[in-house]
């Protein structure tokens, strides 16, 4: 329940700052880039993860289309993608016609489609479902940090550079939320700086961070930690982006531009291991077809450019991209050429380390659960595979439970 969130976050903050000394030490270490290596370096396969969130509830049926299914063709009239236009993958399913770049990744064996992803007792609220996806817990924020935050605590308990985890966009996605490893968040790399021409001013600004100051309130302590991370990472991040050159044709839109930053950070090997980006506009209750087509076009163009960029820098061999949304949409269209909130939808996992092809099981379009596609794969199986396959972390420790294994990454 919503009203418990802050209490819990506050409780957590207090709990974690009880051990203020060690925290300050680790922060100081990461600020100087002299962090200790990961505790299990031998177990860390050293892959990077790019998280692409499609916000608003992506209509999975319009992304991976069951074009040969009668039930699909019957339920979908205005949003139907016909056999003539779909990019066929086999005699049952195909990709949205705009996903030509993903289609070529599929042909190269670099695209895994995990079908029917959701969780038990699905919630159709954007916000609650978002929290469940971002924390990998049915309790949402009440469970504490986001799943990437917990992954970092598990994998780098003694600290790492602040730019270990980066979100390119306005607001922190909850998955990155962490009391120990707050993410670096930036929108425009050129503007990721504090400006002053005067040396004493710059030095005072840098000194205003999180040194041991027991009198600080929780909020102030957190803000001071953010200042430390910002001053430590600002120059390195800007430099990496400025120095990175690529022939990949990133489009001008915010989504492609955010992937350009991802490509630079991973290509320049800045120590960044997780980059998160977001593409919004998927809450398509009315006139879905045009809006969703445009989203697919933007998504494909961005991912295509990123793939090329990573191939140029060689980071493609070490990078996995995960595409997900908080829920799919109802099978039956609503009365306004759109779709209402639903349940299961496919997740996409993309990259050279990926074992391409279909994973999981396609949900039935005739045996619906409350009008919705029922879950066939718990999305946390995918998280577990990535936590282990990319970072060598124990999936059950990060996620708090064991989930069925998926052979998502090449051995």
């Amino acid at each position: 329940m919503q009203h418990h969130f802050s209490i819990d976050r506050r409780g957590l903050l207090i709990a974690s700052f009880g051990a203020l000394g060690s925290l300050v030490l680790s922060r100081a270490a990461r600020a100087q880039g002299t962090e200790a290596p990961p505790t299990h370096p031998s177990r860390d396969p050293g892959l990077n993860l790019v998280l692409v969130q499609l916000s608003g509830g992506n209509d999975g049926l319009s992304m991976v289309v069951p074009w040969a299914d009668d039930a699909y063709n019957k339920a979908r009239t205005s949003t139907r993608i016909g056999a003539g236009e779909v990019l066929k993958l086999d005699d049952y399913r195909g990709l949205h016609p705009e996903l030509k770049g993903l289609r070529s990744a599929w042909d190269a064996g670099a695209l895994a489609i995990v079908e029917g992803c959701s969780y038990p007792k699905p919630n159709r609220s954007h916000f609650q479902s978002y929290e469940i996806w971002h924390t990998a817990s049915m309790r949402g924020r009440d469970a504490g940090d986001g799943w990437i935050g917990r992954l970092c605590a598990e994998t780098w308990p003694t600290g790492a550079v602040p730019e270990l985890v980066v979100h390119v966009g306005a607001n922190e996605p909850y998955s990155l939320h962490s009391t120990r490893h707050p993410a670096v968040i930036l929108q425009n790399p050129n503007a990721y700086k504090w400006i002053s021409d005067e040396a004493p001013d710059r030095s005072l600004y840098r000194d205003s961070g999180g040194k041991e100051r027991p009198a600080d309130s929780d909020a102030l302590r957190r803000l001071r930690g953010i200042l430390d991370d910002a001053t430590a990472s600002s120059l390195r991040v800007r430099k990496a982006v400025l120095e990175h050159s690529t022939k990949a044709g990133y489009a001008e839109d915010d989504f492609s531009q955010s992937l350009r930053v991802a490509g630079a950070l991973l290509g320049k090997r800045t120590g960044t291991r997780v980059v998160s980006v977001e593409l919004g506009g998927f809450d398509t209750h009315t006139n879905q077809r045009t809006a969703h087509d445009a989203r697919m076009r933007i998504l494909d163009a961005g991912l295509k450019a990123l793939r090329q960029d990573l191939a140029e820098s060689g980071a493609d061999k070490h990078t996995v991209v995960l595409v997900f949304s908080e829920f799919g949409r109802r099978v039956q269209e609503n009365g306004s050429r759109g779709t209402d909130h639903g349940v299961a939808a496919p997740m996409l996992v993309l990259g050279a380390p990926v074992s391409g092809g279909l994973h999981g099981k396609h949900p039935s379009l005739t045996q619906l659960s409350d009008g919705d596609l029922a879950m066939t794969t718990d999305f946390r199986s995918v998280y577990a595979a990535l936590a282990e396959g990319c970072f060598g972390a124990s999936g059950s420790r990060v996620l708090g439970a064991q989930y069925p294994q998926l052979g998502l990454l090449k051995a």
Binding site: H4, E243, G335
Partner: protein, 531 residues
Amino acid sequence: MILTILLTCLPAGDGPLDKSFQAREAEHLWNRAGFGALPEQIEASVTLGREETVRRLLSIPADEQPFFVERFLDVPREQYKERSEAERNRMNNAARERERKQLQDYTGWWVERMQTADSPLRERMVLFWHGYFTSSVEEVRRANMLIRQNQFFRENALGNFRTILKGMLRDPALLTYLDNDANRKGRPNENLARELMELFTLGLGNYTEKDVKEVARALTGRTVDGQGDYAFDKGAHDDGAKEILGQKGKFNGDDVARILLEQPACSRHVARRLLRWFESVEPAEARVEAYAQVLRDGDWELQPFLARLLNDPSFYSEDVVGARVLSPIEYMVGISRRMGQRVPSPLVASASSMLGMRLFSPPNVKGWEEGTAWITTSTLMQRGNIAGMLLGAVRVDDVFVTSDADMQEMAEGGAAMAPAKKDPPKGAAGAAFTAMKRVVDAGWSPTLNFSARMARQEAKTDAQIVDAMLSDLLACEAPQDTRERMLSYLAGERVMLELRDGEFLKGGAPAERVLRRMAHLILSLPEAQLG
């Protein structure tokens, strides 16, 4: 100004002073029931006492600054069809531009009210309702609908929640935003029904999926006509029997409002949201219930609720004072109000967009996430840059573009660098950059005079100057270590200017420049984001 209103009826002689309402409490009240205040306003409030200050804040009428909304209507469909494609494109572009311009003008007008209006509590509540019953220009598109919604909030900001809820269920912008214009009998669209219960009235866990479907049916037919006004389409309304939250009947939209308002969960939800907004601390359940009772007892009137809250000792407790992470708007309007120096409103609006709060464009139907979510590694530094720009210590170009100084700083790392790209930023940042540059290029420059300010407050020594600067610029008391660092900073700069302690203000223009830099530093600090 409000100052005059507050000073006109001072108690005769030295009236009894309320010992629990000193400058700290008064400033807190002005921070949370407004956007911060001048030292003189705070002093006046201490003299008046808490109850009287609250009473006046609540009773100041809305100020009479009209904004005339224009409705741009479409060309009739038949005529539109006859035009060539080139003409249609031209018409569509012109229409889009008109809408964009009108909303931009109104946003500026609104920000102006936040900076200068005599009724800061009303302004604060307008901002609250704007983030509560959200509607975004991305979906609504028609500026006039969004403006009329905002004006409805202005009229009812301190009024009655029932009136507001009922108004919203007839509000063209909200009905469009949540697709109720497409919610028709036999073809229900659940968008409004779901968010109505989850976000506007009951909260998650207090209704079922069945209720969502039934409420959607009851709301069918509530739509928007060609003029952009509310219309009830009888033919589209499903007047069959429904069961909503245990009640059965042939319910319509008004019945839905009645049923929702009858739920105890509704008063708790509204009380919780208001407590969070004013206190920025998660309220205990018992407190939520007590305040929910105030709403129920007052038949949803907001004034008794606010009067009780703003007089509540808990509102002034250690946990609450200074615990709020200021939103971008609060941060910038706060600077303007505390300095008594208005900033061009388009500058505030575009800077706010850049910092993650574009008015009329909330990120989703839940509105903006409050609290520490506002502050990221990048928005923290950018807030400082924007404050520097408002003070004339930072150039607008440097905020967005990699400058020669940046290049030099990066080159110090050793690597040879390509020349800086002077490309203007793209996407959302690009829009903010253009808007801010327009204001600056039009000749705006800050006219703050810190030396005069210090002289007026008789601050002469380093310690007096640092204390006055911190107290003027920050919404709450500065931590001790900050004060010490500022002291040694000022002493260092003073020695450079070859001045003795106590004579700093005799340093003329160079001393004024140091004070501006110091103000820029103070507003860049983590503690400047709290209030």
